[in-house]
């Protein structure tokens, strides 16, 4: 082997090595912007939040570095805070059940109706998704009170004799919450329905089953996973959504999200707000894990 070919081989080898290095580096370079966003603006704040929740809160300062479990103890012993946790869970549970029921019926309707209605209904379902939560709140805010549209409509149709107000009731809070989460639920369920062969319904009817029995014994088992996913999705959303219940519901309807805002912006108690946020995140994570395990159990059972 001459020195010249040796040098050429070396050159090729280094070139190839450089190419391989570049090839190995390429995915990381491409992922870099996304990873910076997630790690720097999600990872660091999350860790910071956990650390913050153990800091001290002394004489109206935002926080004093230290280490205490005081805020967590407070969270689970102070009736104000425990009530907020229970209220959040109760609201999320009822609102999600209502959302799934309405969303299921809505998706079923769109699935069964002729195709020409489909686009119209999908456009309708998209509307709450594309409107800002604040605009939704304000819309219902004009509908429910004494001088609102509902009261006027009922009064002029003669159904009631005096002005009525449903504003600042739990009912109003639920109406708003379900409105916000309905589209997510609807689209999850519609995608499940679209995977079902409609001839199954005919087969069931041909075999003599009335619609109610077809629903119970054919549709429900086929859509069970979808219901589960839609429910957990709604639950997670309603747990984190606090503006709607706090604006439409009664003054005493304190949710965890509302107390986080109150502690952070009103009371300037950063450790307490952080402790609350940590508990909320743990709750969200628990619901997601539970859904996943239920889902896999279900599918493994079917297979």
């Amino acid at each position: 082997m001459t020195a010249a070919t040796q040098a050429a081989d070396d050159l090729h080898a280094t070139q190839r090595a450089a190419q391989a290095r570049r090839k190995a580096l390429a995915p990381w370079l491409l992922m870099l912007p996304a990873l910076v966003i997630v790690l720097v603006f999600f990872g660091i704040p999350t860790l910071y939040m956990v650390r913050m929740s153990f800091n001290l809160h002394i004489d109206q300062r935002l926080y004093v570095p230290g280490f205490t479990f005081e805020h967590y103890v407070n969270l689970f012993s102070n009736p104000l805070f425990t009530n907020a946790i229970l209220t959040t869970i109760r609201l999320a549970l009822i609102a999600s059940l209502a959302t799934v029921a309405i969303g299921y019926a809505f998706a079923l309707l769109v699935w069964l109706k002729p195709a020409r209605w489909r686009l119209l209904f999908i456009g309708l379902a998209l509307a709450p998704l594309l409107i800002s939560e604040i605009a939704i709140i304000f819309g219902w805010w004009m509908f429910f009170p004494k001088n609102g549209l509902l009261s006027y409509a009922l009064l002029s149709s003669g159904l009631v004799t005096e002005k009525i107000s449903l504003m600042y009731t739990e009912f109003a809070a639920f109406v708003g919450l379900v409105y916000v989460t309905l589209p997510y639920c609807f689209f999850i369920l519609l995608s499940i329905f679209d995977g079902i062969d409609k001839r199954l319904l005919e087969a069931s009817a041909d075999l003599g089953a009335p619609p109610s029995r077809t629903f119970r014994e054919v549709m429900l088992p086929l859509t069970w996973t979808g219901i589960l996913v839609a429910f957990s999705q709604s639950f997670i959303w309603t747990m984190g959504t606090y503006a709607t219940p706090s604006a439409l519901g009664p003054d005493t309807l304190w949710t965890m999200g509302f107390l986080i805002q109150e502690q952070m912006l009103g009371k300037h108690n950063w450790p307490m707000a952080s402790a609350f946020a940590v508990v909320l995140v743990v709750g969200v994570a628990a619901v997601m894990t539970l859904t996943r395990s239920l889902q896999s159990e279900r599918t493994s059972f079917h297979v």
């Binding site: 390429a26 995915p27 990381w28 491409l30 992922m31 870099l32 912007p33 996304a34 990873l35 910076v36 966003i37 997630v38 603006f41 999600f42 660091i44 704040p45 910071y48 939040m49 913050m52 019926a105 809505f106 309707l109 309708l124 379902a125 509307a127 709450p128 594309l130 409107i131 800002s132 939560e133 604040i134 605009a135 709140i137 304000f138 819309g139 219902w140 805010w141 004009m142 509908f143 009170p145 001088n147 609102g148 549209l149 006027y152 002029s156 409105y179 009335p210 619609p211 747990m239 984190g240 959504t241 503006a243 999200g257 986080i260 952070m264 912006l265 950063w270 909320l280 995140v281 969200v284």
Partner: protein, 278 residues
């Protein structure tokens, strides 16, 4: 006997139920929208039905008020920034996932998608306490539009990533190979072959990112000050003090901006379809 009557009654009951539900769902979704639209043309200063006089007075009022037009400007700037940041990051990341072997792929996937499942109040709080007091070279993070853009990208970027991951799967990769065979480097191939193929996906995800940022107000509430507050934040703060038809006007303007974005997506989509059919 009873079974027979049962069977003949059931379809009728069902049809009535279906009709009732259809009316209910259409009404339910349209009520807040129509109420807002109607109220925005109210002449009076109070929110009350019935409406006696109609006028566009509150629209004129909105555009004459520096505070409200500034808020609209902030909203649009922040939404534009969010769209650019999250689309760039999301598209590149989805391409990496499509074309390269990535160690611990599932772990990175979960990490990137995670912020999407976090409540806005938690993300807002985290970013606010971690970056609130920080300032580098006289540039204060807190209250800056850029910080809100990045915070909004925490929701928008995973969504772009998800959309683009699905879009990249639909490409015919023989075209990409052909480009390589013809001597096109990876960078040139990406910009001149791949991107034009997925342009509809990119435009859609960019506009979705824009809409998410435009409508979001919890994170913005935690991260903006008086000078940078967005329109939804200003609406939330004024709703707490007093509701006037000006808020209805603000709602309508927000919704119209979103509607304009949707129209752009539709026009783009139709254009692409025409190109393909030609």
């Amino acid at each position: 006997m009873s079974d027979a009557t049962h069977r003949s009654i059931e379809p009728v009951v069902l049809r009535v139920l279906v009709a009732a539900f259809t009316i209910f769902i259409i009404g339910y979704i349209l009520v807040p929208i129509l109420v807002t639209l109607v109220m925005s043309f109210n002449n009076a200063a109070m929110i009350r039905f019935p409406i006696a006089n109609w006028s566009a007075r509150w629209y004129a009022d909105f555009f004459a008020s520096g505070q409200w037009t500034d808020a609209l400007k902030n909203s649009i700037l922040i939404a534009l920034g969010t769209a650019v940041i999250s689309t760039t990051a999301g598209v590149l990341c989805a391409w990496a996932f499509q074309r390269f072997h990535i160690p611990f792929r599932d772990m990175w996937y979960i990490l990137i998608m995670m912020p999407l499942f976090m409540p806005g109040v938690v993300l807002g709080l985290g970013v606010a306490i971690a970056f609130g007091g920080l300032s580098i070279g006289g540039y204060a993070f807190y209250g800056s539009r850029e910080l809100v853009m990045v915070a909004h990208s925490l929701w928008a970027m995973p969504l772009v990533f998800m959309l683009m991951e699905a879009t990249f799967k639909t490409i015919d990769y023989r075209i990409v190979e052909a480009s390589h065979d013809l001597g096109g480097g990876p960078v040139r191939t990406f910009f001149e072959v791949v991107l034009p193929l997925v342009s509809t996906g990119i435009v859609s995800s960019m506009l979705f990112a824009f809409v998410i940022s435009l409508n979001e107000f919890v994170m913005a509430l935690f991260l903006t000050d008086r000078d940078t507050q967005t329109l939804p934040v200003l609406m939330w703060l004024s709703l707490r003090s007093a509701g006037t038809p000006r808020l209805a006007v603000a709602s309508v303007i927000l919704a119209l901006t979103v509607f304009a974005c949707l129209t752009i997506i539709m026009l783009w989509y139709v254009r692409q379809l025409r190109k393909v059919s030609r």
